[in-house]
């Protein structure tokens, strides 16, 4: 293909911008990584930028030796798997019927569902609701309320709508019912969107801490790892508390903070390469029609 000078220049600019964006995302991670592996004194003297100085793995040994973190990591992993499976099941079961033209009140149902995207009750009504449901301080409060994301459901619905209707009709002629059609035809054709949405759900759950903070703060054994991380960082930086009380609570050292951040981030980062090949087709296909 022959390219004009202009388009080559355009490509160069795009590549340059992409590289910049990559650096903006990657360098802070590298910095935290370097800090987690450096001697605390080097951190204090501001000598650590992108490469560890005086390699020191004490922070990692300390964090990994603490049963609190290892248990929380394991629990968060289990929680993520449960939530992802459950969310995908519910998302599929919600999206699938909505592609049937003959579903009565389809538009109404769609509008009701859509409404929840724009109007949210807010923290206090949610708190009261969960309290009345007996969910406060129960691990289930981390699972049930966020089982379905409307946004993800719409992506799923659009994706399913893009699968030719004739496939469904021929299956119907062969005598297959809606469930059979879903399992044997739609799901095998939807691997990319399933992978993508699973990733959305998994990352959301793994990174989430505010629900645990509001609704489950008295149930320590079931703290997700991000909430533990939040506490470690807060206890060090809560200057308001220090001024109120006239003294400062001791906090974790900077290298321990960095090591905890890395330990909480690496597992979910490792998931990306596995799902990457589905990722782009999954998101864009869903976006074509909606």
């Amino acid at each position: 293909m022959i390219q004009s000078k202009n388009s080559r220049l355009g490509d160069a600019v795009i590549v340059f911008i992409c590289i910049l964006l990559i650096l903006v995302c990657f360098l802070p991670v590298l910095n935290v990584f370097a800090r987690s592996l450096s001697d605390p004194m080097a951190l204090v003297c501001r000598e650590v930028y992108l490469w560890p100085k005086n390699l020191d793995v004490t922070a990692y040994t300390l964090v990994l030796k603490d049963a609190k973190y290892t248990w929380s990591l394991g629990w968060t992993a289990i929680l993520t798997v449960i939530c992802t499976l459950l969310s995908m099941t519910m998302t599929t079961l919600c999206a699938y019927p909505l592609i049937y033209q003959q579903l009565k009140g389809r538009k109404l149902i769609n509008s009701f569902i859509l409404l929840t995207m724009y109007f949210n009750a807010g923290t206090i009504p949610n708190f009261i609701l969960f309290k009345d449901l007996g969910l406060i301080n129960q691990p289930a409060v981390l699972i049930i309320p966020y089982t379905l994301s409307v946004f993800n459901m719409i992506i799923m619905r659009s994706f399913l709508q893009n699968i030719p209707e004739s496939l469904r009709e021929s299956a119907e002629l062969d005598g297959a019912g809606p469930v059979r059609i879903l399992v044997s035809i739609y799901l095998p054709l939807s691997t990319s969107v399933i992978a993508t949405l699973s990733l959305f759900y998994a990352v959301g759950r793994w990174n989430g801490y505010s629900d645990a903070l509001m609704f489950m703060n008295s149930n320590k054994p079931y703290y997700p790892i991000q909430l533990l991380l939040y506490y470690i960082i807060q206890s060090k930086t809560s200057v308001d508390a220090a001024t109120q009380e006239g003294f400062t609570s001791p906090g974790a050292s900077e290298s321990i903070k960095a090591a905890t951040v890395m330990i909480a981030t690496i597992p979910i980062l490792l998931v990306y390469p596995w799902l990457q090949r589905y990722f782009i087709s999954g998101v864009t296909l869903g976006a074509m029609k909606g």
Binding site: V44, F127, S218, S235, S238, T243, E245, F247, T248, G251
Partner: protein
């Protein structure tokens, strides 16, 4: 039928009229003890301290057992994350699930809910049961019990915990640098400035290869705090009275007459290169400036009275010695004199947390007795110092020295169990001298002489302003964060200005501050003061 309805309505009215009376008197309380076991829930801050469980340890057991034995009250603790109280307490109040005995530093939130009848008025309870809570009354005193007593309506929505230690802000300098340069400890503002200049001019001698990292005076964007003693020394002595403290409401004293001249001096220092040049970039929680101190590049600064010494092996004191040798230490000094030649500074008032009962509390007497129980000297003494041999040891001269406890049920989840003893902040051994000695020994890796000096200087000529509750300031509603941000902007832009532009920048900033609500609050406070006490 009509008669029946009328009867029903009348009886309902009677019941509703009688309800408040029923709330006040508690017939089940006989000879100092409830005849049937009562149950209350009590808030406890949770700092997620390693090796502890905030609501399940030796101390919570002590309280539970003690309350059951003494009053026949069963206590259940409810944890609230320390750093989230501002979000969680209002949520709990709105949802009707706040613990029976709750506390927060955020009195604004309690007031908001009090206005909506979601918080109990404590004054009738305090009046009715005052004979049953002698220890609480003697610890807090009338001032703290009635801190929030409204002079017009007679309502009182919170009890104020007692702050024992009112030391606030100190000035610190590098003792080893003074010695190296043959300088005496500065005793005036001018000598302090000369010292900063000497630090700057001798950077090579003091820091060698790191000379370019020299910071004679360090601060952060919170100038009002990080230079508080300097700025307050510019306030004429006649304006350091209760009246002006009440009217010029800002908690960093930034509105008082004279402060502008203090800021002008900081502006000059900044332009002379004596102040950390990018100080405005460092917000609360940023460790950069602390790290500069730990690394040994900072000559002087102001902060909490014991700032360099707390936090053991993570403290500025200890890390600095690791980086620069044993002699490298910060000492507290007290050079800034006002126009009367006095090193006057602001100390804390005796107020601490706000304790309140939500409307869902149906055991007000048991709740007050709870407060009395933890205010009783022997009880709070145990809660503050723990067990001998585990949490503290007694030195040869009879001083209590705290020792770090092993992780587990005996370890305190907060310093002196501040979270378990909601009525008090700060060690109290009964004898002030003993308390100070014990406090000085309580800093791991720090020679007690530094603490004793710092404590004494922080209190020298310190003013601890009393509370004047002259009613609500309508103009202040919802303004505190806005004005605190504006204050930061005014101070930071003024110091960063060139010397010639200083007046213009300061005046413009202050005009904006006043127009944004500052003036309205000042006027209202002035009017309230005049109405209560005259000119």
């Amino acid at each position: 039928m009509k008669k029946l309805l009328a009867l029903l309505l009348t009886s309902m009215l009677m019941v509703s009229l009688l309800a408040p009376v029923a709330l006040a008197a508690d017939a089940g309380f006989v000879d100092g003890k409830f005849t049937e076991t009562r149950h209350i829930t009590v808030e406890i801050f949770d700092r997620s301290t390693d090796g502890t469980i905030a609501d399940d340890n030796v101390y919570t057991d002590f309280i539970k057992q003690g309350m059951l034995d003494k009053y026949n009250v069963e206590v259940e603790f409810v944890t609230v994350p320390r750093w989230e109280e501002n979000n969680l307490i209002p949520t709990y109040l709105a949802a009707g699930s706040a613990p029976d005995v709750s506390y927060t530093y955020n009195d604004g939130a309690i007031y908001t809910y009090f206005m909506q009848d979601a918080v109990l008025d404590l004054q009738p309870l305090l009046d009715e049961y005052k004979d049953l809570i002698p220890d609480l009354s003697s610890l807090l005193g009338e001032a703290n019990l009635t801190w929030k007593l409204d002079p017009m309506t007679g309502t009182n929505y919170a009890i104020c915990a007692r702050r024992m230690n009112v030391a606030r802000i100190n000035t610190f300098v590098r003792e080893d640098w003074l010695k190296k340069l043959g300088l005496a400890v500065p005793t005036t503002t001018q000598e302090f400035e000369d010292m900063l200049v000497a630090f700057k001019n001798n950077a090579e001698l003091l820091l060698g290869a790191d000379a370019d990292k020299m910071v004679p005076y360090a601060m952060t964007e919170d100038v009002g705090w990080k230079a508080n003693n300097i700025l307050y020394s510019f306030v004429p002595d006649e304006f350091t009275t209760d009246k002006y403290n009440y009217i010029y409401f800002d908690d960093r004293q930034f509105l008082l007459p004279g402060v502008k001249e203090g800021v002008r001096l900081l502006n000059k220092w900044f332009n002379d290169g004596l102040i950390l040049q990018d100080f405005s970039l460092y917000a609360a929680g940023d460790e950069t400036v602390n790290n500069l101190m730990k690394a040994g590049f900072v000559g002087a600064f102001e902060d909490n009275w014991d700032y360099p010494y707390y936090n053991g092996e993570e403290s500025i004191h200890y890390m600095l010695q690791q980086a620069q040798g044993e002699d490298a230490v910060y000492i507290a000094i007290d050079p800034f004199k006002n126009d009367a030649g006095v090193t006057k500074k602001v100390n804390y008032s005796t107020n601490d947390r706000w304790i309140f009962f939500p409307y869902t509390n149906d055991e007000p007497l048991a709740s007050l007795l709870y407060l009395n129980f933890i205010a009783t000297f022997e009880n709070r003494l145990f809660l503050q110092i723990g067990t001998e041999g585990i949490n503290h040891e007694v030195t040869a001269d009879g001083v209590i020295k705290s020792i770090p406890a092993e992780a587990g049920r005996n370890k305190m989840s907060s310093s002196n169990n501040i979270d378990t003893t909601m009525v008090i902040n700060g060690l109290d051994l009964g004898d002030p001298a003993k308390t100070i000695q014990a406090m000085a020994l309580g800093y791991a890796k720090v020679d007690p002489r530094f603490i004793e000096t710092a404590y004494a200087l922080a209190l020298t000529n310190g003013v601890s302003y009393p509370n004047f509750n002259l009613g609500d300031i309508a103009a202040a509603e919802g303004m505190s964060n806005v004005l605190a941000d504006k204050r930061k902007v005014v101070l930071n832009t003024a110091i960063n200005a060139s010397v010639e532009n200083f007046d213009a920048v300061w005046d413009a900033g202050m005009a904006d501050y006043m127009a944004s609500g500052g003036q309205a609050i000042l006027d209202e406070r002035m009017a309230k003061w005049v109405a209560a006490f005259g000119e």
